[in-house]
């Protein structure tokens, strides 16, 4: 255990400072090239640059390379390659508007390294009840897991700081669960995700200086999904991600199909005169997590963000309880 402390500290420092240092020049570069979009939730005409994906992937690759120097295990390679493929898919979508089908289908390719590197175990573990062996089904689970986690994080990236802030809470909950389950190597490998998100949050929090874009959100989501598979903590990972899963679930069950946000005509949320967010009565608009949070009355963007973080903390606690329950068998 003590021999793991140095790799853990070094990789976390590298993860944090790579993003912390790279993001300001990336913001300047994107400003020069005029790669900015309007922040829809601001009263004035505020333009915010995107995508922040390049600094996020740089932090992940740099920190995981450091870890690979300490332990040469395929799990690290799976995380790096899967995250990188997800980044490329997201970057293509950032630069060129693709159809609603593009990301889910393309992200299936991102799950290939997990299968080819053999970094999975076909036993699915459940709290209290033990494990079930499902070899054929598990392959399907891997193929679906990365598109689901990638798109789920992407779909929650609707307000300043929410995607990165949510990922800080979910990933540290997942790392804590891995430590509880004494899966120390994977726990350490998972830590850079939290530190990368933490460093990016500094620039993404309200008022955002940069948006992660599809490349950033898909990279974070794909890395999270890969950690869940290689760490054999799929159920715990799903529990920690529940608020974002609810968002996707509500969206899909109200729209009844996979569709890009920009293709939707009905608006789930509108602005009051003092530019607070308010749920609409538009029946053609999708039901989303933000819309439900606003069902009780108008709130500022910051208040909605904090409400999402409270839900994330609640599900993070449930995830940690689930990890303790994994050690109990009835």
């Amino acid at each position: 255990m003590t021999e793991l402390i140095i790799p853990a500290i070094v990789s976390c420092v590298v993860a944090f400072f790579t993003v912390y240092v790279i993001t300001p020049p990336l913001i300047k570069f994107l400003q020069k090239r005029n790669l900015a979009v309007k922040d829809m939730n601001k009263k004035d005409h505020v333009m915010v640059v995107r995508p922040g994906g390049p600094s996020i992937i740089a932090g992940i690759i740099a920190s995981e390379l450091v870890l690979y120097g300490f332990f040469q295990i395929n799990e690290i390679l799976a995380i790096m390659i899967t995250s990188f493929i997800a980044f490329v898919i997201g970057y293509v979508d950032d630069r060129k508007v693709m159809g609603g089908w593009f990301k889910p289908v393309a992200l299936v390719i991102a799950s290939a390294p997990i299968i080819f590197l053999g970094t999975y175990d076909s036993d699915l573990s459940f709290p209290l009840f033990g494990t079930v062996q499902i070899p054929a089904l598990y392959l399907g689970l891997i193929i679906f897991m990365i598109p689901i986690t990638g798109n789920t994080i992407n779909s929650i990236d609707v307000l300043n700081g929410v995607a990165s802030g949510f990922m800080i809470i979910a990933s540290f909950s997942l790392s804590t669960a891995l430590f509880i389950l004494q899966n120390y190597e994977i726990a350490i490998i998972s830590l850079p995700l939290g530190f990368v998100s933490l460093a990016f949050y500094k620039y993404h929090k309200i008022p955002s200086k940069i948006f992660p874009g599809d490349s950033g959100a898909l990279t974070l989501g794909a890395m999270y999904g890969t950690i869940a598979i290689v760490g054999h903590v799929e159920i715990i990972a799903a529990v920690a991600l529940l608020p974002a899963i609810i968002n996707s679930f509500l969206f899909l069950s109200s729209m009844k199909r996979i569709v890009e946000h920009r293709q939707i005509k009905g608006k789930p949320v509108e602005h009051t005169e003092d530019f607070k967010l308010k749920a609409t009565n538009d029946k053609t608009a999708p039901v989303t997590l933000v819309r439900l949070i606003l069902a009780g009355g108008p709130l500022s963007e910051k208040q909605v963000g904090y409400a999402i973080f409270k839900l994330a903390i609640f599900s993070g606690i449930l995830a940690i309880i689930t990890a303790f329950m994994m050690r109990v068998s009835i």
Binding site: F126, P127, I134, P135, P243, F249, L250, A295, L311, S315
Partner: protein, 76 residues
């Protein structure tokens, strides 16, 4: 934001735990024999079908719960 969303999260969590219990108890000891080389394939396929049905039931239950919880939430 009232108790609705936290309640929905909690119900989802309980359903995951219960679903896991059903999956392990139902699918764990389940195996088909007597078909030679196809035993493993048949067992896996049937396990996959049962698991998918369970997931669909899970989604259906959540969908009903969502309507029930959030209609109350919006009305209040």
């Amino acid at each position: 934001m009232k108790i609705g969303l936290f309640g929905f999260l909690f119900v989802m969590w309980v359903l995951i735990l219960a679903g896991g219990g059903i999956l392990v108890t139902l699918l764990g000891p389940f195996s088909i024999s007597g078909y030679g080389n196809f035993d493993l394939l048949l067992t896996s396929t049937l396990k996959a079908i049962i698991a998918i049905i369970l997931v669909l039931v899970w989604i259906l239950v959540l969908s009903k719960l969502k309507n029930w919880i959030f209609k109350k939430e919006i009305k209040s």
